[in-house]
Symmetry: D3
Subunit: 134 residues, 6 copies
Amino acid sequence: MATVKLIHYEDASPEVAAVYDDIKRTRNVPDVNNFWKTLAHNPALLKRTWEDLREVMAPGALDGLTKELIYIAVSVANGCEYCIHSHTANARAKGMTEEQYRELLAIIAMASQTNALANALQTPVDPKFNVEAG
Amino acid sequence: MATVKLIHYEDASPEVAAVYDDIKRTRNVPDVNNFWKTLAHNPALLKRTWEDLREVMAPGALDGLTKELIYIAVSVANGCEYCIHSHTANARAKGMTEEQYRELLAIIAMASQTNALANALQTPVDPKFNVEAG
Amino acid sequence: MATVKLIHYEDASPEVAAVYDDIKRTRNVPDVNNFWKTLAHNPALLKRTWEDLREVMAPGALDGLTKELIYIAVSVANGCEYCIHSHTANARAKGMTEEQYRELLAIIAMASQTNALANALQTPVDPKFNVEAG
Amino acid sequence: MATVKLIHYEDASPEVAAVYDDIKRTRNVPDVNNFWKTLAHNPALLKRTWEDLREVMAPGALDGLTKELIYIAVSVANGCEYCIHSHTANARAKGMTEEQYRELLAIIAMASQTNALANALQTPVDPKFNVEAG
Amino acid sequence: MATVKLIHYEDASPEVAAVYDDIKRTRNVPDVNNFWKTLAHNPALLKRTWEDLREVMAPGALDGLTKELIYIAVSVANGCEYCIHSHTANARAKGMTEEQYRELLAIIAMASQTNALANALQTPVDPKFNVEAG
Amino acid sequence: MATVKLIHYEDASPEVAAVYDDIKRTRNVPDVNNFWKTLAHNPALLKRTWEDLREVMAPGALDGLTKELIYIAVSVANGCEYCIHSHTANARAKGMTEEQYRELLAIIAMASQTNALANALQTPVDPKFNVEAG
């Protein structure tokens, strides 16, 4: 249940419809996800978010699948239900194997655990991590 | 400043020293990081955490560097200063290029932003993400 | 689905009913929200929370709407679904325009992004922010 | 202690220096904050973040000070030390009074408390908050 | 709605069924919770998580109920809906009284509030907390 | 480094000094912690927070030490450095043994890990957890 009504394609302003069209074309899908339909109440933010996302998630020094795995990891740590679902689906669409998903979950679990331990113990950062030194 | 005194190698019990030795051998380093020196107050947890970490972070379906990038992402989202420093250093030691680091930061920033937007809008999960269906 | 049964007005103890009456009178509503109906299992906490909330959210140096916007921002960052819904509704009831809501979302997204970047980079705090100095 | 070396003005590439110049001109300051000096390792992200921030934080339907208060609230909930310091300073520079700061802190404390309670109790969202209904 | 199909007992591999059997025996329940049915996609992680959990949550220097209260507290702060429900149920099964639950909620609320205040004010840690000193 | 100057006893207003006196008397300490010295900029919030804290943390259905352990758990999950230090010190002052501290850390680590897994897998809540049923 969203805090705003979803803006469907047929009700979209020309500005919003143009972004929807670009998403559909780029991703080769018949309709955009609910995320965009809620974000569309702020057309400028919709446009900027889509354009930034398209650029950031395009394969570069990191391949597209690795980027999705990182995205899932952040979304889990932030507890964003919607993002976990959509990016897990994206990762699968980009070829994530079951074995890779298993390892992803194990890393997220391990990091969450050591994050909590280092915070609880307030472990001091080792001086050797100082990049300004030497 | 930690909540416990660091346990240095020369003060370690045989049980703790055995884990320190394994860490030093596995990573080929002259001393273990502060994280282990604080965790050593609970020798069972030290041993289990190290053994799990060694297994989880070993190259598998995902390579070692990709695993470190995911680890950094979780640590940033959880705000663990120590973990951010140690795993950024690990990633560099495993060959992370400046360009890869740049892209990692851009993905973390992008995910944090869309996580917040999806949470703020309480965007409903698209029915197509249901893996039990079909 | 709550961890406790909702305590409805007709089942409330006199102590709880007195708080419900004060909420209904103050807010001019026919019934209290579910939040209070779950909190009522701890009558002392119910009373204290309501009285503190009433005082904190009353217009002062900051007007009532600004206070609701700040409340939404905290709730989004903490990922509290219930609080996001109830305070978005409160903000609308206090006159939040669609344009203000758009800007609120954009700020929350921007802050989440730069929070993540500053954490990832562990940017050192500028000395000029030191209020004890000069 | 940052994960990267700070890039000072005199060492900046023309692309980075152009952003620094724009920040200095817009904010009328002799030098940019450390945040930008760490972000400058990714010139594209530096440029995009600055341009988005400048646009998002400009007075609009919400005034500049209200925007800073919202920014502080998000930064506190996300536990970003750097962001808390820089935006508290920004808010003061934009005229935040001590009384407004007091109220801001009280709202953040209150919201954090009720966020935790609603999460702990898993309070169900009231049907009346459904914006798609009637 | 999970990101994976639940693996029910009748569909479980021998490796997974063995863990399910141990959970059912240890807890004296007719079936395992959904958590294990989703985790079972990674049999090694399933086994390790169950064995660690069984050991960590067994009565020791802290009794079993106290351990569940601490578990709930972490789960609330991390916003894990599933964990809040399952560990609140566990605590009740281990004898948590309504009065204890009331106090638990009050502590969680109080800690969340002072956490936010100390973060907002960036209160410096008192030197007397230094365990390495004197 | 705080966002406000610390208000020391000798500079405190009568209203603030009265709270400081009550803290010193109740805890039998020569001076109040820095937390109160930063909070004192909002005398009403200082008074309310202290009085609530004193009441919430007093032994009741849960003993004083158990309450401190829960407080630490929340503070670790929220990443509040100050609160972790002050409540770990409080727990020690109330008799926390090294063995209890070890178990506390193990529970926090375990909960953080399963929280992340349940969130990542979006495990559906078991119907049996429904307290309104039956």
